[in-house]
Amino acid sequence: MQSDPWQQWQALAALFTPGAPPVPQAGSGRAGASSSAPFADVAERFSAAARAYLDGATNASASAASPSRVEIARVFSDHLREIFADFQLPWSTGVGPNAGFGSASPAFSPNSPALGASREHQQRWERIADAWRRLDDAQRRLQRLGADALREAAADFAARLGPAPPPAVSPEALRKLYDTWIDCAEDAYARAAHGESFCNALAEYVNASSDCRRDLQTGIEHSAKFFDMPTRSEINTLHLRVKSLEEELHAVRDVRKPARKARPKAAASKAHPKRRRGKR
């Protein structure tokens, strides 16, 4: 689009959000980012941090040990870790009941005696509360594993930058740093994602979401029946009946097909005398 795409993220982000604040200068923070383009925010913050790193490392002492460059690289990688810690991984949205029912956990004490006419509802809400706790716990475990992966990525990134003098600030240099960072982040994430802890936490997250949704659905159906509204279960029952009838119909047709094929020619000609005459 232009020589330095990084500086354009803010301008684009402002365009994605009509009425957003005026376009700030690069490195001035998160203003101008929008929900339509969350990646713009991350890229813009990356750009600012990368410029600071390149400037700082260029001015740093180029002595044999080059401790200052290593230190600057470490600060840069730590900063990247923090930036990406805000980044929502895709599995954390849309799967759980959080997407449709808000994030507040229902307050129910577990294992309280269920007595009286409302005992079934109490038990259902207890199950929902329990599923919500499991969901919350699984999400924390996933976040922790994600944070660990980012820490690994930051260490790997700092090691790759090393004590060598960096290139001058340029769009190409920024792009190379960005791609290296993404490689480090993706590699570290992949190592975590293949691990048993991550797989277990993700499965628990999905399973707790499913349990929560099932019991919430039961509650909604209970309310729907009160107002004599059709429920999902009712439609499912009707659907199963239709499916069963369709299968029976297919079975009957399958039985009749060979019988029709096996019909003697004489009988068939009797059944369609006019068509035979017409063909002549």
Binding site: Q8, A11, L12, A40, F84, E186, H194, S210
Partner: protein, 333 residues
């Protein structure tokens, strides 16, 4: 180009539509539609080629635009191309099973083509999950398939690099599906999660950093549309696919039954061409390569391309290499 003009160009590109080759609908059943593509080259006389696409995405990726169309490449090779479009399942399809797809809709498409062309057998190209359906169909109806091409098709679902398989291994799929369908949005999140930094960040940086010409932006937008145009999945079929294939690996372990009939890949005696993406993050190469040890056919060819999953359909390299490889292989049989 300023940010404003880039934004305007991007917005204008958002309205471009995918698809470039002329086709006509020749058969329908439920939500499924069978299309036949208009020829653009002298016919080779080979048996028609039926493309069986996956249930999880839309098949227009095979014919995205003129310079990114495997279907156009196949037509240019003189092949008679058909395609199954499974459609968008809705709540009424929640009980649709894999048997309904394989023995009902896929079999219906095949019967229509064979009847209308007075043939006994045709060629099948199964893509990704569609390759799995094609393998099942070929094993159940061997007399109907003359040659089988599988493209980025998983067969062994328990290979070490298969992240998707590891993730779903402990998920209670019956509870996830419940009595309904599975939302395409959930699948989108799942696929993005496989490489979140590349797919939700770097991809958009690449968009800005590259050339701003209209053709490139339109190409990007068409792919973007395809990626997120994920149909909901019929609940019963989804449950069966995840449990039988991803969790229990029945196909590779010779324990799969569809509609009460065993799917034994070892009974496959037909020529098979297996196209593999070496950098495929969704279907790791080893998951596809496993096909060779499971089939009974002596006529097996595997070609590995240095491409990723999506690159196998839309990369410039794929346009030159993949249709030609398929056509040459078919012509030699």
């Amino acid at each position: 180009m300023t940010a404003g003009s880039f934004y305007a160009a991007l917005a204008a590109s958002s309205h471009c539509t995918p698809g470039c080759s002329e086709k006509e609908s020749v058969w329908r059943s439920g939500k499924a539609t069978l299309y036949r593509y208009r020829p653009i080259a002298r016919p080779t006389g080979a048996a028609p080629l039926l493309i069986v696409y996956a249930l999880v995405n839309r098949p227009y990726m095979m014919d995205l635009q003129e310079d990114r169309s495997l279907i156009r490449g196949l037509l240019a090779q003189g092949l008679d191309v058909y395609l199954i479009d499974w459609g968008y399942p809705d709540g009424a399809d929640r009980l649709t099973t894999l048997a309904d797809y394989i023995d009902g809709q896929l079999a219906g498409c095949v019967e229509h083509i064979l009847k209308s062309q007075r043939l006994d057998a045709l060629n099948v190209l199964g893509v990704c999950q569609g390759g799995v359906l094609s393998l099942c169909f070929s094993a159940l109806h061997p007399q109907r398939v003359r040659n089988l091409v599988t493209m980025v098709t998983p067969v062994d679902f328990h290979t070490p690099a298969d992240l998707l398989s590891k993730w779903v291994r402990k998920i209670d799929v019956a509870a996830l599906v419940g009595d309904g369908n599975v939302s395409g949005d959930i699948l989108n999140q799942l696929f993005l999660s496989l490489m979140p930094f590349r797919l939700t960040q770097q991809k958009y940086v690449d968009l800005l950093a590259g050339s701003p010409d209209r053709a490139r932006l339109e190409n990007f937008m068409r792919v973007e549309q395809w990626i997120f145009d994920s149909p909901d999945q019929a609940g019963a079929a989804f449950r069966e696919f995840v449990v039988w294939f991803y969790q229990e690996n029945r196909l590779a372990q010779n324990r799969l039954e569809i509609a009460g009939r065993k799917v034994d890949l070892n009974t496959l005696r037909l020529p098979i061409l297996n196209l593999i993406g070496k950098r495929d993050h969704l279907v790791p190469p080893q998951a596809s390569i496993a096909l060779q040890r499971l089939i009974g056919s002596d006529d097996y060819t595997a070609i590995e391309f240095d491409l990723g999953h999506i690159g196998m359909y839309i990369s410039a390299r794929a346009q030159h290499e993949v249709p030609a490889a398929i056509a040459q292989w078919l012509a030699s049989r």
